[in-house]
């Protein structure tokens, strides 16, 4: 693939099934990071639990592979402690939209300057084929023996409704275009969602590489990614799903900017001195 900077130094025993869509996402991510000129020492990838959440293990960068559903609070926590780091939260659809659903909603509202890459294969792989929040209606699973009855979660519509300033959807069947979307997402200042369609070759016999190819289309030049209302009607389409950069708004203030600690001092928290005089003054306020 030619990407070397983020390639691990040692051979990795990769835990994914042959032909899994995760391989493509891993490759696209490493290429995007390298092409942006980023360095492993300044890049942190957080993840939750599941097969997608193992991605950072196979990238030469800092990583925090945390608990199920918690990739986003970790990423927000890291970014605000050291805004010089490029922080990417990466996990699957179950992790991000199910177990971590509340964090997904509020991380968008918080608008940390992070990139959220969600591997969306519309199924639970590691636990052997149960429905995920994005599973299509009617699919039979070992639990949904009468078929899935819930409406699938629409992450791009939810993100847009919450005021996300960068919303994208990709299909890993097209590695190069996915990589380009990743690059734009990482460069975006503020929370950026990339929901990546990806087949699970073992447990999802419906949403295959072929199915994603047939059921998606790239938004073209006539599409206005800045018109929030028009974007809304487009991303509610269900027959053929639009992919690409679906919404983008520049200049929204980030969490790190709102929080105030970087207003007059850009140093990350770990470089700051402990201000003993201010503490002395604070205690003095409790004296008579």
């Amino acid at each position: 693939m030619g990407n070397r900077v983020f390639e691990p130094d040692h051979h990795m025993d990769i835990a994914w099934c042959p032909a899994c869509g995760n391989f493509g996402i891993l490759g696209a991510l490493k290429m995007a990071l390298e092409e942006l000129g980023l360095r492993p020492e300044n890049t942190v990838i957080t993840s939750g639990i599941g097969q997608a959440a193992k991605t950072p293990q196979y990238v030469k960068a800092h990583f925090f592979n945390g608990l199920h559903g918690r990739s986003l609070p970790l990423a927000c926590g890291i970014k605000v402690a050291n805004p010089f780091l490029t922080v990417i939260a990466e996990s699957g659809d179950g992790d991000t939209y199910g177990e971590g659903g509340s964090h997904f909603l509020h991380a968008i509202r918080r608008n940390s300057d992070i990139t959220n890459i969600v591997h969306n294969n519309m199924i639970y792989g590691l636990t052997k084929g149960q429905a995920s929040p994005t599973t299509q209606e009617g699919m039979m699973t070992p639990i949904h023996v009468r078929g899935v009855y819930e409406k699938p979660f629409n992450p791009v519509a939810v993100a847009l409704s919450l005021g996300a300033s960068f919303v994208a959807r990709a299909n890993i069947g097209d590695l190069v275009k996915t990589k380009e979307i990743f690059k734009r997402a990482i460069q975006h200042k503020g929370y950026a969602l990339v929901d990546v369609f990806q087949p699970c070759v073992v447990f999802n016999k419906l949403n295959t590489y072929q199915w994603f190819k047939e059921h998606t289309y790239y938004v073209d030049e006539s599409y206005d990614a800045h018109d929030r209302v028009a974007v809304f009607s487009r991303i509610m389409e269900e027959d053929r799903l639009p992919i690409g950069i679906l919404y983008e708004q520049i200049g929204q203030k980030t969490f790190e900017e709102h929080i105030g600690v970087y207003e007059s001092n850009a140093d990350p928290l770990f470089r700051r001195r402990h201000n003993l005089n201010t503490i002395r003054e604070l205690i003095a306020e409790y004296a008579k």
Partner: protein
Amino acid sequence: MSNTKKVFSKEVSLVLCGKAGQGIQTIEAILTQVLNIERYNVYATKEYMSRVRGGSNSVEIRVSEVFRYAFTERIDVLFPMDGDSLDHMADRVSSDTVVIGDRDHVHGKFDTSIPVFSVPFAEASREIGDEVYINTLIAGFILSFFNVQMSSVEKVLRKVFARKGGDIISNNIKAIEKGMQLAVEYEHDHPLDICIQRYTENDRNVFMSGTDAVALGAVSGGCNYIASYPMSPGTGVFTALAGFSKNLGIVVEQTEDEISAITMGLGAWYAGARAMVSTSGGGFALMTESVSLAGMIESPMVIHIGQRPGPATGLPTRTEQGDLNFVLHAGHGEFPRVILAPGTIEDGYELTRLAFDIADKHQIPVCILTDQYFLDTLCGGYSKEMKIQKIQHYFIETSKEYQRYRFTEDGLTPRGIPGFGDGLVCVDSDEHDETGHITESFDMRKRMMQKRMSRFSLLYEDEVEPFFSGDKDVSTLIVSWGSTYGVVQEALEIMHDSTVSHVHARQVFPVPETLKHYALDANRVIVVENNWSGQFADLIEKEIKKPVQRIVQYDGLPFGVGNLAKRLREALI
């Protein structure tokens, strides 16, 4: 009405009772601050219902010749501020209690043996312009029994009403004067006289609540990050740190839930911040998965837990020490931790400050276990015992070869942080190898368990010594922990029994070696704690392998000094 004056010369316990919204907390703030400035030993604690307006709440203010830090059930003077107050306080009113209040609030509730004295507070406050001034007016009435300078009163009023502006301040000054005047007008049939000495030692120079002490200790320990979700009684520390944040550059985030709060906190520590969370038992229940995560990734974390009675929502505004077992065992799997429990204002500060150092040095979660009583109680303290020291950072600048979990002799690997050095910092909630990458090797699992658990033995280096008072060779040892320090001390003083000594745990877990020695040497051990089963007693029994007695209370209220002394006497028979 009795015309014999009651004289309080050693101490007086003043209780004000009314509904939420009547400004009892304002009276508390004015009285305690003025009396503190005027060098009286003053202590205040409150009890309140879980509601914004209405109900029946009370505050107890003890003014004493010697320093006191304990709740007393005894009421010397009661100020009922509404019609429900006397019913609410009925259990604590005796023939020794003087009741002073508006006619409607004091009459017809008790038999004639209780001295009831009516003063038209409401009418007098309307003369100032509004009945809202009744609280300040009563404060003025009370202050007239002490020898205080009007300049001290004005100083405090300016502070208490700082955000309300000049008119409000001047009306409150009028209310204080009116209250003092009422005390003079009704002097001929005063039922009481207070003539308590001021203290002479001049270094108990700060006055604050347990909440203030914990928050100040946190910033002194280098806390620069707090993420939390509001939950009584842990919210106060969160609010106080938010108040300090502009001056000190603290990241403050109110998260969507407690899971997110502690997870953000772990992300922050990972990136080099010194983070804490503040919550109560129910919020901590949600955090437990990340307590376990801190154990696995060998991360520092500071967790303040203000206990309230459970199970479940329990009594949201009341007190208990019922979460010790929970905090002791919270989190799946096995890993080291430390639990600290302050029992004085100074310790609220000092133990919280230390918590950051212990957490960082040993790469473990440290819990500060307080309770509603401790957090809401106000008293004086010695600022000289609140150390202000440069903090020590334990993270290192990494080299290219850095491995986050490299095996070392003592089990501690120097902690690298991303963005500081050329190395990569990889951490994983899965079992991992030295580089932090996932492993399923049984051999590696065994070695990593040994690495993590071996660090337990290092904790003894930084053990926080218990307080001890009494003679080391006596037969009976009273053991307490956390918020009960002051009440046990005073109860033992009342008992005046030289065969009894007292040890108070400040570090609850691991149980300090010295505490175990005291307990092993004593013929009999009695553990006093504010819960049903005697959770610390169980822990001590397990450690010393010898049965101990227990004195427990679990009604949602703190121990009162009179009742505790009585129960201790009974236990000693």
